[in-house]
């Protein structure tokens, strides 16, 4: 059962997918599994929906693992899924959130890449799509969105790790989310989780111009990283993508923000640079626990600031 599932170790794609099925079976009133598409190599793309009723309620989206080698993020996503089922009806804040909003959680956002990190190359980051005319494989799914696509901050060379793809939404893993977000039409917060560097980032990445909601996003980020640090003292920096790290075009949250989803954030989880992507499994649970406090802060604010 999900009570005996080991959250303190890394798992394969099959183990994570069977965890999802167990969670749905244990909480059929709260959790359902949606398939939003199939990957380039034909794997199903699943999203867990946490809902207490209603129809097309305002919703919060959380995704992990869009860069497949960032294993602590998928592992944290598994932990978040269990935490939501444990806390609903127990934790006042989460109960209030789920009594009015839905939560969508995509744990393995790049299944082909994730499977490849287990089978062939632990360092793989991109999708596994083939590019006509090139022997190199894959597109960076965080440069493939239709927001500043093709501008500085991504590569046009298929052999690089930040290759943006031939055109925006060329990657089915990206297009599936785009179609889902558009068809749902009522998502109010979109949080995409990466590692590493311990950062909480908001738009924009492709241009230096401040986002119209910059002040509010900055204030909320400050509250979120303060909540995160309260558990183990883990320090996060926060700010716009372009100012805090570097120019990045075609990124997820620049597109979601352009769709009117005001509370659009990217997390870069532990660590700051000892293990990087090879974060020991012993740090999975503490990383997930502290990140959850920040997520809860953003979700609570979203609930209390409808727009």
């Amino acid at each position: 059962s999900t009570d005996t599932f080991n959250y303190a170790t890394y798992h394969t794609l099959e183990e994570i997918y069977s965890f999802m099925d167990m969670l749905v079976a244990e909480h059929p009133q709260l959790v359902s599994k949606l398939q939003i598409g199939n990957t380039y190599e034909g794997r199903p793309i699943y999203v867990l929906k946490f809902s207490t009723g209603g129809n097309n309620r305002p919703a919060i989206w959380i995704d992990t693992g869009i860069h497949s080698r960032e294993w602590v993020t998928q592992a944290s996503g598994v932990w978040f899924a269990k935490k939501i089922t444990q806390d609903y009806g127990q934790d006042f804040t989460l109960t209030a959130i789920l009594d009015s909003m839905d939560i969508f959680l995509e744990i393995v956002t790049n299944p082909d890449g994730f499977a490849f990190t287990h089978s062939k190359n632990r360092m793989w980051r991109k999708t596994r799509s083939l590019t006509p005319g090139s022997s190199c494989v894959g597109v960076d799914p965080n440069r493939n969105w239709d927001a500043g696509f093709g501008m500085a901050g991504a590569s046009s060379n298929p052999c690089t790790d930040t290759y943006r793809g031939k055109f925006a939404n060329s990657e089915v893993e990206v297009k599936s989310i785009v179609d889902f977000v558009k068809s749902h039409g009522n998502i109010k917060a979109f949080i995409s989780i990466h590692s590493y560097s311990q950062l909480l980032l908001y738009p924009y990445g492709y241009k230096a111009e401040p986002a119209p909601d910059r002040d509010e996003l900055d204030q909320l980020a400050k509250s979120a990283v303060t909540a995160l640090a309260s558990l183990y003292g883990t320090k996060f920096k926060y700010g716009s993508i372009i100012k805090t790290i570097y120019q990045a075009s075609g990124s997820t949250i620049d597109w979601t923000y352009s769709q009117g989803i005001k509370y659009s954030y990217t997390f870069e989880l532990r660590d700051t640079g000892r293990y990087g992507f090879l974060l020991p499994a012993s740090q999975i649970v503490p990383t997930a626990q502290e990140t959850w406090l920040a997520l809860r802060t953003i979700m609570e604010y979203t609930l209390n600031h409808p727009y």
Binding site: Y10, K120, M123, D161, Y246, L278, A281
Partner: protein, 96 residues
Amino acid sequence: KEDFVGHQVLRISAADEAQVQKVKELEDLEHLQLDFWRGPGQPGSPIDVRVPFPSIQAVKAFLEAHGLGYTIMIEDVQSLLDEEQEQMFAFQARSR
């Protein structure tokens, strides 16, 4: 399965824009097969790059020649991967 024996992850510190540009030159040298874990960005923010064993000397010579400071963040990537795999297999064995 890809093998990372001898691969090192270097943490480069680029103090100003000119040094960031130097690192970007390195990024363009495809034959070195560099994997930037944290790409070149704002001056002062760390740049982490995985360097395959055959490229290590050349990269370190380049950095030293251009006055770019660096530390070794991970001495041998494969040894960390081996630890990670052992931990996963141990868990799977126990759960079976």
